[in-house]
Amino acid sequence: MGGKPRIAVFKFASCDGCQLSLLDAEDELLGVAEAVDIVYFPEASRTMLKGPYDIVLVEGSITTLHDAERIQQVRRQCRTLITIGACATAGGIQALRNWKDVDEFVRVVYATPQFISTLKMSTPITEHVQVDFELRGCPINKRQLIELITATLAGRKPNIPAYSVCLECKRRGTVCVVVARGVACLGPVTQAGCAALCPSFDRGCYGCYGPMESPNTGSLTNQFRILGQSNRQISQSFRSYNAWAWQFRKASEECERE
């Protein structure tokens, strides 16, 4: 196509935090903007150019029929589609509706439910179109975002590890909150990326980055029981920002059945 790579940012159901990460990269933003053409990013610019795009960043989950159609159009316009954040990669916190009656949700909170059109499920982008890379996190880590964009432009594999939060804890020398204080922590089954923030703030990990590669959720569930947690508590631990990621979903459903 010639010229600089064209980048676009599309939003679906989300809090805007992950795309804000791009603006929060205060030291890199102007540099990135020189290396690429950000041609569609409504949160930051009135200029909204049509595709095709070289890289599209997609934030948010699919919760309406309109969005289910829109993501198909987005896919057709881009070479590389990257999903950013727990909403886009796992359905987000709004996927808690997936276990409930969404019509009841709407009736409970709306005076005129018929004005509202929403799907029964909140689903990740990958259930709708082919995704080239999923960047995890609620929110994503802006360093990982910059690394991912750089790697994609250079045509190399991004350096984004899929190991657990435990490794990050060890690396920063944080004392294990489970072993030392008996605090329930999702670190052993959660993918790294946040630099093990919660244990460094004296609390257990609550799973912002979703399941690590091959997590042993059964073993962690047993450990939580030893710590005195009820099935309901354990199930809810798995059901937060990455509730619909299949490994966490399976773990929470197993607890509910018991």
Binding site: A13, C15, D27, E43, A44, Q94, V106, Q233, S240
Partner: protein, 431 residues
Amino acid sequence: MSRGGKTIRVDYLARVEGEGGIYIKLKGDQVQDVRLKIFEPPRLFEAFLRGRHCSEVPDITARICGICPVAYQMSAVHAVERALGIEIDPAVRLLRRLFYCGEWIESHSLHIFMLHAPDFLGYPDAIQMARDHRGVVEQGLRLKKTGNRIVTLMGGREIHPISAAVGGFHKVPSKTGLRSLVEDLKWALDASLSTVRLVAGFEFPDFEQDYEFVALSHPDEYPFNEGALVSNRGLSIDAVQYEEHFMEQHVKYSNALHSCLRERGSYLVGPLARFNLNFSRLPEIAQQAARDCGLAPPCRNPFRSIVVRAVELVFACHEALCVIAEYEPPPAPRVEMPGRAGVGSAATEAPRGLLYHRYEIDERGIILLAKIVPPTSQNQKRIEDDLRHFVPGLMTRPAEEITLRCEQAVRNYDPCISCATHFLRLKIDRE
């Protein structure tokens, strides 16, 4: 926009947080209909909060908004604490003010430099603006980074920080930790003063409205987490009485509810309201910065909100420095939660205005009912009223300019559409 004397339409409003558009219908020079259309998909927070433990509320509600997560955490912890009868330590109270300073600095500099200034200087965005005004954009980014540094130091990360807890914090910073912010904040205070001068020099449309301003008001402080809810028309209530005076309406064209005063209709929350109702509680340095550029309460021109935001930047940098100088760590990071049932409401001042939460909690700590009214829901009706009065004065201008000015009029409010759209519980049908 297709004009032809009929409609003004902005399908996708840029440089606001979330998905919305504007639709204005004209008949001759008469405005027939104004709609701020919000098509941000609903996420149903109040519904799925039911059944969760109240200790999770600050983490979950932060996810309503990536730009003002601290505001959600603050309104949430105060409401839950009121429900459970928890008294927080004075040092925790001070730290929460500092946490809020960080968010105000981050959010206000984002809005002033990246979202709003391009309207006044004639650019589609801050990146284009940087080609001609690199120093201005760099100053904005550095200010924003200073705000984010406070939030990150106290909460681990700038978006969805992880330290806020019912009863206090999971972990509180050390005195040395906080002191590491001082140099940046001193720079930021100077930069804020120059920001006031910069934005006060912009050209403002000659447009004033007779607003009802609503904000918190505290006897001694510019408001963050505490105070009575007051207005310039005599409202003076506690957050507990909020729902007696305010109600939400559900309109077909918007996925966000319109909030209004039961007796008097639309009202305005945010920097203009806080400034007009609390000017005397601003520190002298911020008052002086305002006076020097000819800004005094009552300011009724919404386009000047950018100057008021800059004055609030001065306040937030100054306040952060005061808190850091005064800070002694509390004996414990947080008070333990008692096992009791209760109902609690609280309102705090998010960067873009009043944010109300109410929770009903059972004796196990489980949420039975949640209600959240974000600032943009409250300003929505007022934004439409502004457009209704603003558009007739523009009719002789070229189409592109009318569209741009209407967008600017919406951006005056720094609307946060993701916040506004998460389904508020309604009670208006029996009115």
